[in-house]
Symmetry: C2
């Protein structure tokens, strides 16, 4: 590149005595003893520029007019800083540029966000002035990390003979899954495209087309109510292969993550990654995406307490539920009765009726329910929980799902509150042997736990119609530090099995054909066995960057109400646009809804 | 990768005597002398597999049941083909695999498209069964070329310190440009997102944010009536930089194209690429995207014929138009009067009132209008057109734009019909010095020739308000073989100039603020000088692959009515989806419209 300019952050002692041209932003200006010091920032970093009347009165006079975030072109000479003025915290702190020429390329009003301060700013201001927020070092770093991560992943997949391919954004709306974003058609009145929730069916069709190895950084859309870790549009690393087994797909994904960890974090990831069945994850961690960086595991006591004098425990087991506990090791003294009341309120959020507890001391259990447990019962519970003096034992007795949800969440909260989590650690985990289906109580039917195209494990295929709840899926989720990083599965590749699956999901033949007829047809023309995985790219970047909010990984994210304070999207449109689309807007029934 | 399989197309004599496992599709089956020969195809190519009863009766029996496009797993031994049976046209033609085991992974009905034949198939069948169409060798090659081209471009831009970034798909609708695809908001009744026509404003904001070098393979959307070379969604290589001049941006783009040509076509592109002003392109080629692979240039004769006895010519010049001609060298005898009548009908499509012509022989001009030109006039016209015996001269006399449009189109047609175009040649050309504005007769106002954010050239900025039609833009288009490959410009980076531009375009202050207020505001917070370029990726791939239709470069394209025969998108949606979006569909006034 013909570049007549030097980069501020790249200047070193090697440049001393060179005359350089710099272009960038005023990070800070300081006036001191008749001199002016400007920290000039460009994409590479910052260098100190000094304006000295001895060198140029004119340049000094212009430098006096500049303010933070002005855009400057500066010419000057690189010099060593005097001993005592060297700034070791600064990459370019050994040198400075003595300016002989300056021109103001553009001015700036006083910015509503201080670029050089890393202080808390309201989300709304950050998004409205995103172009300033993004100038902050931590945002620049995250966006650069995002770029580098994408390139490392591409490099890996290209080497593995994957082809990067693009699937359509204007697709067909299908009833399964989350709510679609729709796009009205002008040419076909009353007809709509849907933005893809994922390229699932297209990537399967790419396998039918014989490409065998596909990937895409795919933009996906879900019109759902947003939470902190959701965005209406998000990016997924979408991978599909033919002729590979689950083990081969997992093994390949592991090597991809190994390369990412090495290139981005300098961490040597040991392979193979640990695996855990869904059932084990639920019973040990109360979660299908356990954070394994700390203990506090759930322990099942159902068999020990099924005949307990404490009827809450006994009845939970008799009614088909269970009793599990967490041993908060050595923390008995740290929790007052009031503290425990707060934990009780916490588990109630997850549907638990209460939180039973005992503290352990040399004499055994103490606390309100201690009396229900004789010495023998205490001994067997203590043994199971590895309990000893100074431990706090927390119990939930309820329906199984409630026990898992509430104790799982409580475990996560305690791990965080008690500082048990090593934030530097990256714990990857495969969760396998998922149930294929979940029973949807509200609609009285089965729904796909992943999606309706997931292949059941071979040994369960025969009982798909008879005992759908017992069928396991050929599915695997990749979990990192308690976050679901992604998931995948082998896919159904035979028409008759796909039809059975639709039947189990309550589709009539007509419904199946009108929604997914093209897929059923494709399965009849030489579809290879295939499967894949999709990883949440925004979330991966978030975890790699040590951020806690997805919005910090996305250049122009939306707020929790799916709007953009910067451009003010979504907005009203003209009547002629609506007329072109054959649409009219209904007045909302209740504006305060 | 743990792969227990060999790739069919990768087998060579080096594999002889190896026992291999293959997985792929039956390209063809032939039964011959008690043996069965199957051409087995996977993503790498094809190998011949032989089933011999001497080796396995059982495998032979199964092989007898397979048909084209069945998916097989085959085990066997690689052997050298006997002399005389070597197929030199086939990459694996020196060997074959003698099978001892076969299993059918999936069956196939008789495919509606023959994968091994490269014959014309109806577009509708191709799109409806796209997953079979894509198995054809030419489609596989194009999609692989698309992948490789993308990776070469990424490699180049990464090396130039560009960051790949993602801009939103759910954006704000703006009135300038083509028609937006809209996405109704569920959360904000009566409000809509727009799918981006390009990431123009976001990439400018990325420059405001100080990233300096951005790129993206950006999906863009235009709801326009489609032509053969348009798709409702398309991909553009979107590049933006800060602090670079037009020349620097063009120079960098040239090096990028040089790398692409080298890596994809093995062609050494000479730099710098030729440049031509817009005015020169129009007057010499009648086109702002001239195909310079052949001559037949337009020659302006206005000054020679302004006093001609042929009033059609004289009047065209007097009325402010012009007279130009093409010399169809040595082809006088090839065009009958009927042929010329057809050319006349052709230029009328472009608004020309007629096509004047003469043939040249030793005695001078002949033909209906020859009599209007005396010896002296003939000599001066002949000299200007470098005409000699056996040439056919074709004239259009009309308003300037009509002369350009009609003769430009005629030139292209003749170049093709007369076989003057070397299809192996890649002629790149920069077209520069574009007008900033065009006058829109229908709406009685100026519109931006590129877009409203284009920077005028420095010397014209002062006359933006007074003489907008004379202002040139800091814009450049890259043309390849008569196709606009892409275009770019420097952008306005100062608020007052952007406001003037909106004023020239007829925006009230209120309109400018309500549509583009966020941009105007951003320009006040330290916006660097910036500019960029966007290249049509689908079109680039089309030209590199030697295709003539954009649809052949896109995995799942739409038809001319923006629908997808495969998935049947767009489709009707449920009433509850519409209710969620606060919309009702209007009955079209005339269903046959």
């Amino acid at each position: 590149m013909i570049e007549t300019r030097h980069l501020a952050g790249a200047l070193t002692k090697a440049n001393i005595d060179q005359h350089v041209t710099l272009k960038g932003w005023v990070q800070k200006r300081r006036d001191l003893g008749g001199l002016i010091f400007i920290d000039l920032r460009d994409r590479s970093g910052i260098v100190q520029v000094v304006f000295n009347p001895a060198l140029s009165e004119e340049a000094l006079a212009i430098a006096e007019t500049v303010r933070n975030e002005y855009v400057l072109q500066v010419e000057g000479t690189v010099v060593a800083r005097a001993q005592g003025t060297i700034n070791e915290k600064m990459k370019t702190g050994e040198i400075e540029v003595t300016a002989d020429k300056i021109s103001i390329l553009n001015a700036s009003k006083t910015p509503p966000i201080n670029v050089f301060e890393d202080k808390e700013i309201s989300e709304d201001t950050r998004l409205k002035y995103r172009y300033i927020d993004l100038r902050r070092e931590s945002m620049q770093k995250t966006i650069k990390l995002r770029h580098k991560t994408a390139q490392v992943i591409r490099q890996f997949l290209n080497q593995e003979s994957f082809l990067e391919m693009e699937t359509p954004m204007l697709t067909k709306s299908t009833p399964e899954g989350a709510r679609d974003y729709l796009v009205p058609s002008r040419v076909h009145p009353g007809h709509f495209y849907a933005l893809p929730q994922s390229p699932q069916l297209f990537k399967q069709l790419i396998m039918v087309a014989g490409f065998e190895r596909y990937y895409q950084f795919a933009r996906c859309f879900r019109d759902e109510d947003l939470r902190a870790d959701r965005q209406p549009e998000f990016t997924q690393i979408d991978i599909e292969t033919s002729f590979m087994t689950s083990d081969e797909i997992m093994e390949m994904s592991e090597r991809m993550m190994q390369l990412v960890m090495k290139e981005i974090k300098g961490v040597a990831l040991q392979l193979p990654l640990p695996r855990m069945t869904y059932d084990e994850a639920m019973s040990r961690y109360g979660s299908d995406k356990p954070d394994t960086r700390f203990g506090l595991e759930l322990v099942d006591l159902s068999d020990l307490v099924k005949d307990s004098d404490f009827k809450v425990f006994a009845n939970a087991v008799i009614n088909g539920g269970k009793v599990s506990a967490i041993n908060v090791k050595g923390e008995a003294a740290s929790f007052s009765r009031k503290d425990i009341d707060k934990l009780t309120d916490f588990v109630k959020i997850y549907g638990a009726k209460g939180l039973a507890w005992v503290k352990v001391d040399e004499n055994g259990f103490s606390g309100p329910i201690a009396k229900f447990f004789n010495e023998e019962a205490q001994a067997s519970i203590s043994e199971r929980l590895n309990a000893s003096a100074d431990d706090l034992l927390l119990f939930v007795a309820d329906q199984t799902q409630i026990v898992y949800d509430s104790l799982g969440a409580l475990r996560q909260k305690l791990g965080k509150d008690l500082g048990l989590i090593d934030e530097e650690q990256f714990n990857f985990l495969w969760v396998t042997d998922w149930p294929l289906l979940e029973y949807d109580e509200d609609n009285g039917r089965y729904v796909a736990a992943h999606h309706p195209f997931t292949l059941p494990v071979a040994e369960d295929i025969d009982r798909l119609l008879a005992e759908p709840e017992k069928v396991k899926a050929s599915a695997y989720d990749l979990v990192l530090n308690g976050f679901e990083l992604g998931g995948g599965s082998l896919r159904i590749y035979q028409r008759d099995l796909q039809e059975k699956m639709f039947k189990v999901l309550g589709f009539s033949e007509e419904e199946a054909n009108s929604q997914f007829g093209f897929l059923l047809q494709a399965l009849e023309y030489g579809t290879p066995p295939h499967g894949g995985i999709a990883l949440g790219f925004d979330r991966l970047v978030m975890l790699l960057a040590g951020k806690t909010n997805l919005r910090d990984t996305i250049l122009f994210p939306k707020t929790a109400s799916a709007s953009d304070p910067l451009t003010e999207a979504p907005s009203t449109v003209s009547q002629s646009q609506l007329t072109d689309l054959h649409l009219s807007v209904l007045e909302p029934k209740n504006k305060h809804e």
